[in-house]
Symmetry: C2
Subunit: 327 residues, 2 copies
């Protein structure tokens, strides 16, 4: 499989230009790329212009690539025309399986033969989305990869990358490298998992919140403030794993699991805990050891504290005016 030399790419396509696709377009523009947009909505161009205008100050503040031009985009109603010659395609159609299947088959057939095609889907597996493409345009189907962004794609760095059964490994590698090249934080998954990683975590939290509202146990304001003024202040630096690593004191994750393991049986959420076997305990400890890359608990604590202070100071003036907000 011959794939485009990514260093030579100057034009990409965005298929679908709603909140997510338009956000991708703004990001690509800020990276100095030209963007060709396909979107069937008559107001697509107007909507995209507004989105890019709104996003541009933020993108400017984070740093534009040389030659970045917020007007370097065109809207097309013909898919083949939109895809002509582009080095990469980002599909961001609505989350509708049949629509995605049809559209990805059309893209697979019409895109340049060396262009990788990323899909912004937040929940479907590429194996199911590619079904029609595999039947109609198998060569193109081999270049279909999930590249799942977070809203807004022009500000949140994370992209989850995973292929389907019929995706060539080289296309997944290419996509992971491409997103990294343009400044994204890439998680390359080895196998398909519904909701990928971040959405499974987010969704667990969201469902627990819905249960609480359903039972009259908490309001939206309380739920949000319990995060914004609590664990949410730690998470921009240390995720849930390293947060619990620090909750174990100097003994770290090992101490945490050995000591607080039994509390996994507490009814602290409606989600059932896995059995904390010796095997799981060791797997978690090993995985955390790898993630910390030799940093001591004290080093992590200092970084966490510096981060919480920086976050609180940085957004103090914004938060002051917000729901339950405080500096």
């Amino acid at each position: 499989m011959e794939l485009r030399d990514m260093k030579t790419i100057d034009t990409v396509a965005c298929v679908g230009a709603g909140v997510i696709g338009g956000g991708w377009a703004a990001y690509f523009l800020a990276r100095g790329l030209r963007v060709r947009v396909w979107d069937p909505a008559p107001e697509a161009g107007e909507r995209l212009a507004r989105l890019v205008d709104n996003a541009w100050p933020a993108l400017t503040e984070l740093g534009l690539a040389e030659g970045a031009d917020k007007d370097a985009w065109t809207v097309h109603t013909d898919l083949a025309e939109a895809l002509e010659g582009v080095g990469f395609v980002q599909e961001s159609a609505p989350e509708n399986l049949e629509m995605k299947q049809r559209l990805l088959a059309d893209i697979a057939a019409a895109a340049p033969a060396d262009a990788v095609i990323g899909s912004s889907t937040s929940g479907y597996s590429m194996t199911e989305m590619a079904r029609t493409a595999v039947a109609e345009a198998p060569a193109g189907a081999a270049r279909l990869v999930v590249g799942h962004p977070f809203n807004p794609p022009y500000l949140i760095p994370l992209v989850e990358v995973v292929g389907g059964e019929h995706t060539a490994a080289a296309a997944v590698d290419w996509a992971a490298e491409w997103y990294t090249l343009i400044g994204k934080s890439v998680i390359r998954m080895d196998r398909e998992l519904p909701g990928f990683i971040a959405n499974r975590l987010q969704e667990a939290l969201w469902r627990e919140a819905l249960h609480m509202i359903d039972n009259g146990e908490a309001t939206a304001e309380q739920i949000d403030r319990s995060i914004t003024d609590g664990p949410g202040l730690r998470w921009p630096l240390l995720g849930p794993m390293l947060t619990f690593h620090l909750a174990g004191g100097q003994g770290g994750m090992a101490h945490n699991l050995d000591h607080f393991g039994p509390s996994l049986k507490s009814p602290w959420t409606r989600l059932e805990a896995p059995e904390l076997t010796k095997k799981l305990r060791d797997a978690v400890v090993d995985s955390v050891d790898e993630a910390t890359k030799g940093r001591t608990i004290d080093e992590l604590i200092r970084a966490r504290d510096a981060s919480v202070i920086a976050v609180r100071q940085a957004i103090g003036s914004i938060r002051r005016d917000y729901p339950g907000g405080r500096e």
Copy 2:
């Protein structure tokens, strides 16, 4: 019930001075209070001195109260001596129900008759923790309140406040007002719920993460980065509810639930979703409306974007050096 005039309080007690109790002590000192510590460990004083020394630069940066003195604490091995004359007691013993029951009964008997007693428990209900106190010192038991902080208590503003069956409503009110007065972000819960609010949410996420590691679906590094570089960047300003409010576009939460409701049935987490009845749908929409206090979607988007940029810029230099870290 006569409770202390909180404006006159100049001395408080910390019962237990480990990571949490010591963190409380550092916070109280920064607020200009004197702290009397009871902790049976022979090295308690030395440990606390180190903790306060480490926390003080952060507390100084966030702003000390007038007269704040990092040395204004004493350690006592006699509980009655530690509690003598104090205006408030914060209990932060290890999470062991029998130990908490015994200790809270002793505190309830020995504390000044007008002092409210807060417990840092992260999971027990005050009803179960107060059982011995109710039998032995019922007057004191009426002043026992959960005041659940987040680690480190000197940096994370959140405190969840809730009473038990035998707690006087006046004591819960007093505690909520007190923690607010000293600069905390208080969530006053109307009824006991295992894990309170934030820990239920955190724990749902943590359990989902453990399941993923158990099944070899993700590493600790991937789990953490999926939060730090993804939703974790949004959560310091907008919690999970307002985040999903914005995910609905201009239609907000109502559009989100009406449109994406069916995806609640997707296997995106091991936590089962509640049935999305009309009643739940309306309750969520109403609760979000209350939380947004009339702010439009566009206003919220601008604030979110400003916050994400501020957070990324503020901790860029810290993150650069961190697991999977990037600016």
